[in-house]
């Protein structure tokens, strides 16, 4: 009997443990969850929030917009670009931000397609990263243009000059792909937001109500509305994934299509995609850790299990990245081309060789060393730290691929080291704008898709198989 009781107690505590650990097994009434999300959003910002917000606003205004004005008036000479480094940090940042933006789509589209349930509470947070990251990428690419005021020449529109954009140019493909991606990821952010905004509409007053009213578009939650929404989200989840892959592949073609040592590599497409996911997942955990640490009630929605799950993904992606990196390196090295040899040697032993090694450390060694352990993996701050390290490493990777690699070309008479100028404050400005947008968003829209969480909680239950209690998920759709 006592044995039985003991078993029962054990089963009881195991169940409790599971419930504690898994958000999906720890349901709260929908109204309570709504309340929590609304509170976290409408909580009166502390002076610390305003301090950070004000500081970032200043950084954005001064470092990003004012300096951009300076750049436009005084020319690209304000930046560190020159012969042969015609491309500098602006494009590093472009690739970096596009990379960051990949995480959102990956989490909310691919994980949705594969019904990975742990995605539910943070699809919104990840999607926001996509959109805000793409804004920074767009800014960075326009900063790079010598005559940004004629950017519209790149768009296909009938004109008296009878000129159309050059479809031979990878940059034109890039423009098409990034536009497609920015538009579709913004739409994909907005669609699942509608029910949550409707919820916020129902629970708010004053100016907020007006905003949410407009944003909710009159959504009530009728069967028809849900059906259309679900159908659309299904289409998006399947269709936006290839768009995401195409974007970074095309970005990689900007480099791979060029006649340059170190760049003409057929593996750049997948290599860039994996790199993008690497930095994107890294950024996602940082964002989650910060949200969990700073916002009210978020420890309910974002839990160790989520860090554990993303941690596993990060580990796998890190391995994939290592594989692609080595693959690229191996073939470049084996090719034995004089200039490629010089370039590889320059990467490792040149003045910025430390960056090459730091990249390998933060992108491979550190994730592997930390993320293998489930306990460590569940620690938000530790995983967040790895995320930051990976992002630094991935920024280094792009820095190595762009300004460091273009230093070495087939005309040794022109080789020259790149020293960044105005790019640095402007790059910091994009980071600040990203955080600023995120901070504003966290106060304006529900960061947790409550209806998705509730849907998940409805689907999850504990089921007994003999003496074992396991988690079981029903397919509601």
């Amino acid at each position: 009997m006592s044995d039985n009781k003991h078993h029962a107690d054990a089963a009881q505590s195991h169940e409790e443990h599971l419930r504690e650990k898994h958000l999906m097994l720890d349901p709260l009434p929908r109204g309570r969850m709504n309340e929590m999300v609304m509170e976290s959003m409408m909580e009166k910002p502390t002076w610390k929030f305003w301090l950070v917000f004000g500081f970032l606003a200043f950084v954005v205004v001064y470092f990003l917009f004012y300096q951009w004005g300076v750049l436009i008036v005084k020319g690209q000479g304000e930046a560190g670009v020159m012969r042969p480094d015609y491309w500098g940090i602006f494009l590093v940042n472009t690739v970096f931000w596009i990379g960051i933006s990949h995480a959102g789509t990956f989490i909310s589209a691919i994980l949705r397609v594969f019904k990975a349930e742990f995605r539910r509470p943070f699809t919104r947070a990840a999607e926001l990263m996509t959109t805000f990251g793409l804004v920074q990428a767009g800014f960075s690419i326009f900063m790079h243009m010598g005559r940004v005021w004629v950017f519209y020449w790149l768009l296909p529109y009938p004109n008296q000059r009878m000129l159309w954009p050059n479809l031979h140019s990878p940059l034109t493909w890039d423009l098409l792909a990034i536009t497609t991606y920015l538009l579709s990821s913004t739409m994909y952010l907005f669609l699942p937001l509608i029910p949550d905004v409707a919820m916020a509409r129902d629970r708010s007053t004053g100016w907020r109500k007006n905003i949410y009213k407009v944003l909710a578009l009159g959504f009530r939650g009728t069967e028809g509305e849900w059906t259309h929404l679900r159908a659309a989200m299904n289409i998006f989840a399947f269709a936006i994934s290839p768009v995401m892959f195409s974007v970074h592949t095309i970005v990689s073609w900007d480099f791979a299509a060029a006649t340059r040592p170190g760049w003409s590599s057929t593996i750049f497409g997948p290599y860039f995609i994996v790199g993008a996911l690497h930095s994107g997942m890294g950024a996602a955990v940082v964002v989650l850790a910060v949200i969990r640490g700073t916002m009210k009630h978020m420890d309910y929605f974002v839990r160790g299990e989520h860090f554990d799950a993303i941690g596993k993904l990060m580990l796998i992606i890190s391995m994939a990245w290592a594989y692609f990196f080595f693959n690229d390196y191996m073939v470049q090295w084996y090719g034995g081309d004089k200039w490629t040899q010089q370039l590889l040697h320059f990467h490792e032993a040149g003045p910025l060789g430390w960056m090459w090694f730091a990249m390998l450390f933060t992108n491979i060694v550190l994730p592997w060393a930390i993320l293998w352990n489930p306990k460590w993996r569940a620690n938000p701050w530790l995983v967040g730290f790895v995320g930051i390290a990976i992002n630094v490493g991935m920024w280094f990777e792009r820095y190595i691929i762009i300004p460091i690699s273009v230093t070495i070309n087939r005309m040794p008479f022109t080789w020259r080291m790149y020293t960044p100028g105005i790019e640095v404050p402007m790059g910091i400005g994009t980071v600040a704008l990203f955080i600023l947008l995120y901070m504003a968003a966290s106060k304006l829209i529900p960061l947790i898709p409550v209806w998705e969480v509730q849907e998940g909680q409805m689907a999850h239950e504990l089921k007994k198989f003999g003496r074992e209690t396991v988690v079981s998920v029903s397919e509601l759709e």
Partner: protein, 241 residues
């Protein structure tokens, strides 16, 4: 309106205008560089920018060293300018069609007013001969008086490069046409070739087997730089020695 099948691709022929540069007699005196700058309204950029790789030279003279003192030697000077490739890597990558292949003259054109400044072309040029207007370099009055009215003065944010003195080509063609004849070999030449005290640069029609430049370029030991990339350059170098 266009019938692509009737348009000859430049791979099908040798190109039209070409240059032969004899490195054995090039003394590196920089006369060509100065002549080019004066003819083409090229701006000077000042010490700091010039030292940082932002000089606007359309032609530069490269020299390397061989051996260690006392057996040290300067390698033959190598004037490097736009090779006017038949299969140019700079052209397809411009998103705005600012650098296109001239069907009429078989040159790589740079249309300054169309340039938006992505600098992809320069990045993709294996010869690194494109110059970008990094700033609005001002030439104080009255220096602008010497501007050549036949050449656009470029401003900030556009790419530029050697044009094989296309303004001279057009002028010679215009003159020949007004006189009802063809342009003769040696009737005109580029600014660099005209100035070169050593006569190391010869310019002319490579598709005319009678011209001096094609006779020289077929002399046998001429090389085309980075020919292995398949860029079909139109400048032939003689290393000599």
């Amino acid at each position: 309106m266009i019938r692509p099948e009737e348009i000859k691709m430049s791979t099908e022929e040798t190109g039209k205008w070409g240059m032969v540069i004899d490195q054995d007699i090039c003394t590196g005196c920089q006369a060509c560089v100065a002549a080019c700058a004066m003819e083409n309204n090229i701006t000077f950029v000042g010490e700091e920018d010039a030292g940082y790789g932002r000089s606007m030279h359309w032609i530069r003279i490269e020299r390397f060293w061989e051996g260690e003192y006392p057996e040290v030697k300067m390698t033959p000077q190598q004037p490097m300018l736009c090779q006017q490739c038949g299969h140019a890597t700079c052209e397809p990558v411009c998103p705005a069609f600012a650098t296109v292949h001239s069907q009429a003259e078989q040159l790589n054109l740079q249309v300054y007013n169309r340039c938006v400044g992505t600098r992809y072309c320069a990045n993709n040029c294996p010869y690194q001969v494109r110059a970008f207007n990094w700033r609005d370099y001002q030439r104080p009055e009255p220096l602008p008086n010497q501007f050549n009215p036949d050449v656009t003065v470029r401003r900030m944010g556009v790419m530029e490069k050697c044009t094989f003195c296309i303004q001279r080509i057009h002028k010679a063609q215009d003159k020949a046409k007004s006189e009802g004849r063809e342009v003769m070999d040696g009737e005109f030449t580029t600014a660099c070739a005209q100035a070169c005290p050593a006569n190391a640069i010869v310019f002319g029609r490579v598709d005319n087997p009678e011209s001096l430049v094609s006779q020289l370029s077929h002399k046998g030991h001429g090389v085309k730089h980075l020919e292995e990339l398949g860029t079909l350059p139109n400048v032939t170098y003689f290393k000599g020695g």
